[in-house]
Amino acid sequence: EPEVTQTPSHQVTQMGQEVILRCVPISNHLYFYWYRQILGQKVEFLVSFYNNEISEKSEIFDDQFSVERPDGSNFTLKIRSTKLEDSAMYFCASSRDRGQGETQYFGPGTRLLVL
């Protein structure tokens, strides 16, 4: 069964460094998403992406964040200058379409720790 994959599974970085989290969505899916989950808290929406542009973003997704689909398979989240509070599990998700009956499938997540 096709699945969303994410790399790396864990990343440790120093505050102020840039990180790139990578995702390979399910191949025939058109909508891509990033969510994050701070330890012990809710899963929070960051951004959705369709047709090579951001279609929706939350207030969390500020100028330090960016997303890109550099080729036909990868979908990346870049955090430009990491802060301690960026430590979280980051989930990528994809869906074939939007609307009724359309499931978002989540990847296993990347655990980011900012020191």
Partner: protein, 111 residues
Amino acid sequence: SQQGEEDPQALSIQEGENATMNCSYKTSINNLQWYRQNSGRGLVHLILIRSNEREKHSGRLRVTLDTSKKSSSLLITASRAADTASYFCATDYWYGQNFVFGPGTRLSVLP
């Protein structure tokens, strides 16, 4: 903003018993989904129920949706120790593209 809220926050039962978790939301939705998350791991999709559906089954899972009460329930029958996890409901609404997750119910199934 619309938000899913599960209750109870934590539930502890014996193996073989049924577990019921509830989710409430505030605005009209397209879909409601239930996910499972083992400690520190990824989100596993369990069931999607559309706003025009009332009940769905998948194996030992049964999900109901009452749009008049803006609530859903997830029933796990004949629970097993392996069902121990956090369970989240997530809703999407017609004017947005993201799913809004509730805080989850932590289920512990004791052997």
